[in-house]
Amino acid sequence: MKPNFTQKVTNWGNFPIVEKEMRSEDSFKKIKEFVLSHNEVIARGNGRCYGDASLGENIFSSKKLNKFISFDRINGIIECESGVLLSEVLEISVPQGYFLYVTPGTKFISIGGAIASDVHGKNHHSEGCFSEYVTEFKLMTENGDVITCSREHNTDKFWSTIGGMGLTGIILSAKFKLKNIETAYIRQESIKADNLDEIFRLFEESESWTYTVAWIDCLQKGQNIGRSILMRGEHAFRHELAENEAKSPLVLKKKFSPTVPFYFPNFVLNALTVKLFNFLYYKKQSKKEIKNFVDYETFFYPLDFVNDWNKIYGKSGFIQYQMVIPKETGKEGMKRILETIANSGNGSFLAVLKLFGENNTDAYNSFPFEGYTLALDFKVNSKLKQLVDQLDHIVQEFGGRIYLTKDSMSRSSLTDYLKNVNSSKFVSLQHKRILNNK
């Protein structure tokens, strides 16, 4: 039997699904062969972008680039290959008293994916994007050469690759800094907000907190628009912990994580269940304000607790719609967006609101800029395209843009913001779609 590398590939939203060639190699020589022998190549990490960003004619999977290279335990600098997942970094760094400076809402993403999307976390306003802590990386370029990029060397490629969505080459390995922690726990406060005015005020009041984020019940209308829970947190110090946890403050107990065994049938997730979920989520917290300590997994990765949760959206898949709107007009824009969603009846299970801080102007391909960002999950159905179009219209009007790593159907005027990434070799389906729709 001759190997055939063509297979069905899809990312986290299960939309779109394509049948393309996907290969993985772990030696530079073989990766070079792959790059040189194909006209169009795109790198793929763990497929946790939602849409078509890491899909292409010939996909190079970084799955086999999964080794650690070095760990300077004194200065907290780690180097690993690009397919290593954040979860694997945490596994070795947390017991040593180190945490990732910046982490997205899932730890199952690769280092290559973190750089190519320049991911942000709950601390963007205080600590910026992932790239702030990357000191260097190795990149394979169009002709198969391997170059080392940093703030001093190959600076052009360094900054265009950051947030460059894989369009500048294949990231092979990277070196980045970790932050010191005393414990694996977070001191957390959760505060209920009745409406948009209140949540915006809470965000601005919480600017001195390292981590802030809010969950919005996005089916509310009128007075209740923006009903939400703000969560803010700080890494806990050892002396703050209860006796039990303080004994071995950097080690968490093993938890059971259930797996969604199959795609849920279509009727499971409808407007009613979404409404119920949001209602319960909000009501679960009966007090106005709760202060407690939670482990880092609960705080940063509540969704990772259930494996394959994307299957609850059924076989037709779902999208995540994430935009940012400048701060000055943010409130007005969010209001219009939430109204539009509530009126569409196309509910979102998950809606996360966050205030971004100033952007790093060197990292010109990064998505975040100062303003409000909202991320919403929508099941793919016949009405979705129309809703996305309405939302795009509002985002455009308010001078915002869409996060490429989650995009699969937004208008190109909102996603066509990358610079210095023109290559005929490294091409994704997303990039082609954007160029074709211009």
Binding site: M1, P3, N4, F5, S24, D26, F68, I69, C80, I92
Partner: protein, 241 residues
Amino acid sequence: MIVLGSTSEIAQAFVEKALQEGERFERIYLFTSNKETTERFARHIDVKFLQQSEIIELDLTKEINYQNFDSVNSSLLFCATGYLGDGTEEGLYDNKNTEKIIDINYSKLVPVINYFAQKFESRRSGTIIGLSSVAGDRGRQSNFIYGSAKAAFTAYLSGLRNYLFEKKVHVLTVKPGFMATKMTEGLPLNPKLTANPKQAAECIYKAFKKQKNVTYVLPIWGVIMMIIRNIPEFIFKKLKL
């Protein structure tokens, strides 16, 4: 720990599993014909587990210098050395292919294991884990050169187990079925019958701890191979397996 075939993903997953379970070795000896890939792994386990290792070149297609192995001592040997080669359709009448398959899977490999078995025997302790294959359970038209070498290897391990039993050395035969590894990348394998290296490592580690004699990585393979072994020859020869 001695690892033969250190670039094997199953071997690497097994080493990681053992280290994760808290096992520590004075040194892990990584035998390999591919230094580059093995160096990556050596660094990886050093970063992850602070585990020291040493890389030793072993190319079964070449003359072997046993003096290089003098200082190698351990109570656990994991052998994942193997070579699939071309199947019968492409490779049957290609003698180079046939020789290489037999050398790497059996004839050149056995003396190396014997060399270490002797050390184990004289210490009167230890475990030898050998990866054989379900392909060795019965010769099938699609890959019987590989299968026959593995069948010989299975018989060798079984005899070695018998021989070393009194000498307090244990031998474990592992028969992975379809595996999602480099060896099979791009082949259309049934996902229900296919295990990944991590799953294999867990199963092997359990079998090692329980001192099992023979283990299939996925239990279903035990059943499948029992059926395949028991099909009468006059029917079997007509099947397209």
